[in-house]
Amino acid sequence: MPTARTWREYPQRYRYEAGVCKGCGKWHFPPRRVCDACKGETFETKAMRRTGKILTYTVIRVPPAPFKDQAPYAVAVVEMDDGPRLTAMVADTGTFELKLGQKVRLEFRRISEDGDRGPINYGYKAVPV
């Protein structure tokens, strides 16, 4: 993955910065240029709290190539306490005994890397609390 593409998303991947619509107050993660609720175009940047809950999940047993070393791993749709939803790998799941509604916290983890020589991509993973 080209480094610039990941780099421009550090505010979201590292710090969970969302765009809060000044018109209707809806939180967007990642931020967008147009609010899908009220069509507003002005936003305030706010960092989401790191906590949320699992809405649905799966265990990936046949991973894409960059994730081979981590398989099998769980992935979940998480609803953050501030409202936005995101997709995240679930770290430290051990035996994958997850359940819907499980409270999680986003932690800073390695997501993937471009072989032994390329850049390491960092971002958020959900960790059960």
Binding site: R109, R110, Y122
Partner: protein, 351 residues
């Protein structure tokens, strides 16, 4: 101006491997390793954890305790490690970006075998004291590897400890320091080598013990203090035995050292070792307690510190931030050697 620690945080992986599990692979006698090294198990980083990720989580815990500090006020970030994920590209850049400290910040990665963490604490403390920065962040973190089958494989562990230094809201003042350094070739890793080499029993008496006692004796003398003046003491812990032995040689008791003595159930977290012992102590220390700390880095050197806990610590202990003991003793996931070998990339795979 009293300068010292204004926030502390630890980050430990959940995964562990027991000495028995490693010993059975190599046909080694587990009971004698446990006795010889004074440890039962060690932490293992998950494949998605490294010095950067552990440092970020430790720093976040430190900032959560020192809630009056905004990350943007950190004037410097120093990360000490011998397992930085990149040979060239500072870990501190990613950590600072993740916690929101940039861009007005001085950043450097440090390396001095197991002493790199305390080096950052020493330098950050100095910069605050000199008035060059308002707050400074120092982290000791490692995900070190011992060569398969080597004695180091039983102890090389992972963890990070983060300290915010400052002069406002100090929870433990740094009253005095002493650094002791010589050229002592007890342990090294050459460029491009995956595993370190060590000089066997030479790592003991002429290296660890001479350096730690040298620094500690000098600091006690400089500060005009005696071991009995301290509520707690913590020493670098390459295994479970050395810190207890060196502490007793210096006149400290088991009771003073027990809280910060993590190696038996954590292993050697290298740059994180004595700093993590200190986070465990700060989690429980009372106002007025004096703490003695002495790190050790092969090569070789020690940084020694005298801290006095202030009455501001109680509020920070009650913030619900994960303690060192919580992370050490709860929710562990035990690995078999095969999983451990996969986690630590010891398996040769097709390109």
């Amino acid at each position: 101006m009293k300068v010292g620690i204004v926030g502390w945080g630890a980050s430990l992986p959940r995964h562990r491997i027991k000495v028995e599990e490693i010993a059975k692979v190599w046909g080694a006698d587990a009971p004698s390793y446990k006795k010889g090294l004074g440890l039962r198990e060690k932490s293992v980083p998950a494949p998605d954890q490294d010095v950067i990720t552990l440092s970020v989580e430790a720093a976040r815990n430190a900032l959560a305790r020192a809630s009056q500090v905004s990350a943007a006020e950190l004037g410097c970030i120093y990360i000490g490690s011998e397992s930085h994920p990149y040979a060239v590209k500072p870990s501190g850049c990613t950590v600072g970006e993740a916690i929101g400290a940039f861009p007005a910040c001085h950043v450097a990665d440090m390396e001095f075998a197991c002493k790199a963490g305390s080096e950052g604490m020493f330098v950050a403390h100095g910069l605050v004291k000199a008035g060059l920065v308002k707050y400074g962040l120092a982290i000791g973190a490692d995900t070190s590897q011992g060569a398969p089958g080597d004695a180091l494989e039983y102890s090389a562990a992972a963890g990070a400890a983060a300290y915010i230094m400052g002069s406002e809201g100090v929870v433990a003042t740094i009253d005095d320091t002493f650094s002791f350094t010589t050229d002592t070739p007890d342990f090294w890793r050459r460029e491009y080598q995956h595993y370190p080499q060590h000089a066997g029993r030479f790592t003991g008496e002429p290296a660890y013990f001479r350096t730690v006692t040298g620094a500690s004796t000098a600091l006690l003398e400089k500060a005009g203090m005696k071991p009995k003046d301290f509520a707690y003491a913590v020493f670098h812990q390459p295994n479970g035995k050395f810190p207890m032995r060196v502490g007793k040689m210096l006149g400290f008791t088991k009771e003073q050292m027990e809280i910060g003595w993590l190696a038996p159930r954590l292993g050697n977290t290298y740059s994180g070792a004595s700093p993590l012992g200190l986070t465990a102590i700060l989690d429980v220390a009372k106002p007025g307690d004096k703490i003695f700390m002495c790190s050790y880095g092969s090569g070789a050197g020690s940084d020694a510190f005298v801290y006095t806990v202030t009455d501001k610590i109680t509020a920070l202990q009650q913030k619900g931030v994960p303690t060192t003991a919580d992370q050490l003793d709860k929710n562990q996931i035990y690995l078999q050697y095969g999983e451990y070998a996969k986690f630590r990339r010891k398996i040769l795979k097709a390109e």
